[in-house]
Structure formats: C-alpha cells, structure tokens
C-alpha cells in the first residue's frame, strides 16, 4: 500500500495526542495531576495540538476536503465515520477539562466527569482508527488480530513520553504510575509489534492468482500482459511494495528508536535529576516519535492488496 505522508502524519500525530488525552483524563480523574494552570494549559494544548495537526493533515488526503463533514453521517456501517464522530465528540470533554484546569484551576469535582469522558473518547477514537485497517480483508497484513492492540499501545506510549517531557519542563513531579508504567508499556508495545510482524510473515496466503482468476490450480496461472501500458490509480495506491531487505533494516530502526532507546531512558528517569531528566526525556520522545513514523511507514509499505494478484503477484 502506498505510504501517504498525510495518513502517516495523521495516525502518528493524532495517536500521540489521544494517548496524551487518555493519560491526562485518566490521571486527572484519579487526582494525580498537578492543578498548576501553566502545566494544564501546556498539556491540553499540546495534546489537542497533536490531535488537530493529525486531523488537518488527514484532510489533505481527500479529493474533496469541503465534503469532509459528511464523514460524520455513516457511523452505522463505517469505521472511518465512527472515527470522525469519536474524534469530534472527544473535543468537547477535552475542552471542558482544559477550561476547568486552566481557568478554574482545579481538576477535581465536577471537572472529573469531563476528565473521564476525555479518556474514554481518546481510547474510542484510536480504536476506530485501528478498526479502519483491521476491517479490510483485502489487505491481509492489516486484517490481523494485532492491528488494534498495536495502534492503542503506540498511542499510549507516544502520548506518555510527551506528557513526561512536559512534567519535567514545568518542574512538576510526574505521577508514579506514569513514570513507572511507561517502561512496561514500551515493552508491551515491543512485544505486540514483534508478534504482529511474526504473524504477518508466517500467515498463509489469503488469496492466490488462481482464486483471483478461477483459471486452474495454483502455479498454473501466469500473468501474460498488463491491462494498460501506463500506471494507474490502482497501481500507485495499492501496488506499492518495499523490498524485503529494506523492510528488515527499517524494522531494526523501529525497534531501536521506538523501543530500545526510550526504554533505556525511561528506566533511568526515576533516578535522574530534573536537569538530566528534561533533555533525556525529550531525546526519548523524539526518538520514539521517529521510530513510530518509520513503523507506520512500514505498516503501509509492507501491506499487500489482493488487487496485485491481477498484476503479477502469485499470492497475497
């Protein structure tokens, strides 16, 4: 599948934003957040900034951005529509929470409901994003049991690391569950990603050129001539494929920069002074974000669509 920059930026950036919103919402509901106005403003602004940047860049992927509002209408059948509804709905409690935090200066009491709804909305939105891919049977690598846990965990760890950076930036003490939970979450994401790659590499073929054409047993059908001399939408959009050698290299980049380095830094953070913790956490956040962008690029570039069976692929 063609790794469109707009979709990679959308899923990674909004993923980090919703991860942050989930952590802000759930820790606020548990009274673990500092009521400091400056921190509150920065945290909600950064989270909603990530989300909004992601949503706006996804609009650049559309042929008719002015009709994007129509995507709110088909939530009964479409995961993309459900995602749009969940994304739009999550803004409301997030803004109420931000208001309570920055203007009213408190995050307990009545604001707690908004905090809870923010966390729920964030999880729901990322779940819907993942289900868009998970539900497509024509792309077997995405139609995997690991797609949804992967998206949710990537959102959690990228949101978590950026939130941690903010805590150090504002000289606040990060809540223990965040500080000590992040390394375990990174390990969990690492394991899920390893399982996803293993699953995809070993999965039996979903369809073959034989089943795509009905012309005899596997191995007996060969492409003779392409149907058109120039490229077309189908080939550009769905026949993008990355060489196995590069894929292996890029997987190593993902592992090192999204998991290994942030994990090492995350384990040391509880023992570091603020002076060290701030640049160290920032480095971990940058490294992890780069790693997740590479992972997302691979998610598209490695995925093969069944339409390639009509253009020379033997199995998909």
């Amino acid at each position: 599948m063609h790794p469109a920059l707009s979709i990679i930026l959308f899923t990674t950036s909004s993923g980090a934003g919703y991860g942050m919103l989930f952590l802000i919402g759930s820790t606020a509901a548990l009274d673990l957040l500092p009521a400091s106005r400056g921190f509150g403003l920065a945290a909600t602004a950064l989270a909603l900034g990530f989300v909004t940047f992601g949503l706006v860049s996804s609009v650049f992927h559309l042929g008719h951005p002015e009709r994007a509002w129509r995507a709110l209408s088909q939530w009964r059948s479409s995961w993309l529509s459900r995602e749009a509804v969940a994304a739009a709905a999550s803004y409301l409690p997030a803004l109420v929470l931000a208001l309570g935090w920055t203007v009213a200066g408190e995050i307990g009491g009545v604001w707690r409901l908004a905090a809870l709804l923010t966390a729920v909305g964030a999880v729901a939105t990322v779940f819907c994003t993942a289900m868009i891919y998970r539900s497509l049977r024509a792309i077997p690598r995405w139609h995997s049991p690991w797609t949804v846990p992967g998206y949710l965990l990537y959102a959690l760890i990228t949101g978590g690391i950026w939130l941690l950076v903010l805590f150090y930036l504002f000289g606040e003490t990060p809540p223990t569950p965040l500080l000590h939970g992040l390394p375990s979450a990174v390990i969990a994401t690492w394991l899920v990603q390893a399982a996803a790659w293993k699953w995809a590499d070993g999965a039996p073929a979903t369809a073959t050129v034989a089943s795509a054409t009905g012309l005899g047993p596997p191995g007996a059908v060969r492409l003779l001539d392409p149907p058109h001399s120039e490229s077309n939408y189908l080939l550009r959009e769905m026949a993008f494929q990355i060489g196995r050698k590069h894929a292996r290299k890029l997987r190593r980049v993902t592992v090192l920069s999204a998991f290994a380095l942030p994990l090492a830094i995350g384990l040391l953070l509880p023992f570091a002074s603020r002076l060290v913790a701030l640049p160290a956490s920032f480095l971990a956040a940058l490294s992890m974000s780069l790693g997740v962008v590479v992972q997302r690029w691979l998610f598209f570039a490695e995925a093969r669509h069944t339409v390639t069976l009509y253009y020379g692929a033997e199995t998909v």
Partner: protein
C-alpha cells in the same frame, strides 16, 4: 445509506451483473474502449484522463482487460480476463464509505457512487479486493462500473440497446448481462450449463457477476497444416508444385 440493504429490502430484488465468457473473449479491449466512451459522455461523465495526449497519460477506466497464461506446453493457452465491478451482495466498498456516497440498490443490486457526496478519501477502493474502483484524476471522486444504469433503463433507446455499453460492443459475443437472481434468465442458464464461477469468494464478498471458464481443447484436434510442401494430385496443385520447384532452384 452505506449500510447494505437488509434481506427484507432485497427480497424479490433483481441481481443484475455481467457474465463474461473467458472462452470466447479475444482480448480486443473494445468493451473497455466503449465503456470509457459511454461513461465519459453519458450522465455520469466525464470519466477523466490526465495528460491524455502527453507522454504519461493516465486516467480512470471502469473496465480493464488482463491477460493470463494457463497450463504448460500443449495444454497451455492464453486467457483474456476482462475485469470490472462484480456488484457484490456483501460489497465491502459500500459499508466502509463514511459519507453515504456508496450504496447498493435494493431493487436490482447495482452498486453505485453518488459522486456529489463523495469526499474522495479512497477507502472504498482499498476495501474492494478486485480493484474495481478508480479515482477520477480530475474530478477527484471515486468512479466505478454503473452497469450503464443510464442505458439499461433508458426508454429513449431501442430495447436492444438497453444493455451495458461493454455488452453492446463486444464483437465476440463474450459478454452477457442479466439477472442472476432469476433462475430462468439467460445468464443463469449459461452459468448452470457451462460451470460459471465467481472469483476470490474467500474474501466473503459474495460477488454477483460470474465468468464462464475456457472450454477444454478437443484432444483429437489435428496438427495444423503447414505450407511447406504443397502436395496434391489435382492439376492445379501439380502446376503450383512445379512452379514452387522452379522458383526454389
């Protein structure tokens, strides 16, 4: 709207689609050309191209003719494989549509795009296992085979012309159009008699359209005649053989 019609709504509805005979298709691409012609000028046009007369032309087509080889040696043969929308009963392209642009008509099963609702996200093209949908490079909306809905119900046309453009133009008679829900229709009869099949059913799409398989080649087919040695007892044949010998020296 992008929910598929439920069984009650579909009950009694027709299942219109194409039936392509892979035995008689000669791979001439006339169906694709006439499809493009009709659909760029018809009610749903234009069906655009970019750089149509330049070095790298590219455009949206609703019908593509793929070519495959099957079998080995003597049993090997070329099969032309025209591919367009199969108007699936469980069309995944419909349910993924977030805007309500894609829909399946309960009365005849035709899958259509309401282009003024389409935001051009391309998700339906990802969802279709067959590559039946293409983005219009100029209009930036999704295009697909409409079964020439502006022909088949068009009372301005002679009744004989109320078939999809690809069917009307096929010089080999390889394309058929009809109601697969009606067991007495010609397409249903051909499917029964010739072992018609659908493709990639393992993806749960329940395609309506079918193909007729290439016929088995008769094992007793004589080896083709060659022009090497004209031999005949006929006077004309002997004369020609003599001419051939004289000219060969």
């Amino acid at each position: 709207m992008t929910s598929l019609p439920n069984p009650e709504e579909r009950a009694g509805g027709r299942s219109l689609a194409l039936l392509v005979d892979l035995d008689t298709c000669v791979g001439c691409h006339a169906c694709a050309v006439n499809c493009k012609e009709w659909n760029t000028g018809g009610r749903f046009g234009p069906l655009s191209d970019r750089d149509a007369y330049g070095a790298r032309p590219e455009g949206a087509w609703l019908n593509r003719i793929h070519s495959f080889e099957t079998g080995e040696g003597e049993a090997g043969r070329t099969v032309y494989f025209p591919k367009n929308c199969y108007h699936c009963e469980q069309a995944p392209c419909v349910t993924v549509c977030p805007t309500g642009a894609s829909y399946k008509r309960p009365e005849d099963g035709i899958v259509l795009v309401a282009e003024d609702l389409c935001m051009g996200c391309g998700l339906c093209a990802w969802a279709c296992p067959y590559g039946a949908r293409e983005m219009d490079p100029v209009e930036q909306v999704m295009r697909k085979c409409t079964l020439c809905i502006d022909r088949i119900y068009n009372e301005e046309l002679e009744e004989i012309d109320r078939v999809p453009a690809c069917v009307a133009t096929c010089p080999a008679g390889a394309r058929h159009f009809g109601d697969f829900a009606d067991p007495d229709s010609e397409v249903s009869r051909l499917v029964r008699e010739r072992g018609g099949f659908a493709v990639m059913e393992e993806l749960g799409t329940a395609p309506t359209a079918r193909y007729l398989p290439p016929r088995r080649r008769s094992p007793a087919a004589p080896s083709p005649p060659t022009a090497e040695e004209p031999e005949s007892e006929e006077p004309v044949g002997r004369l020609l053989a003599w001419v051939d010998r004289m000219l060969s020296d």
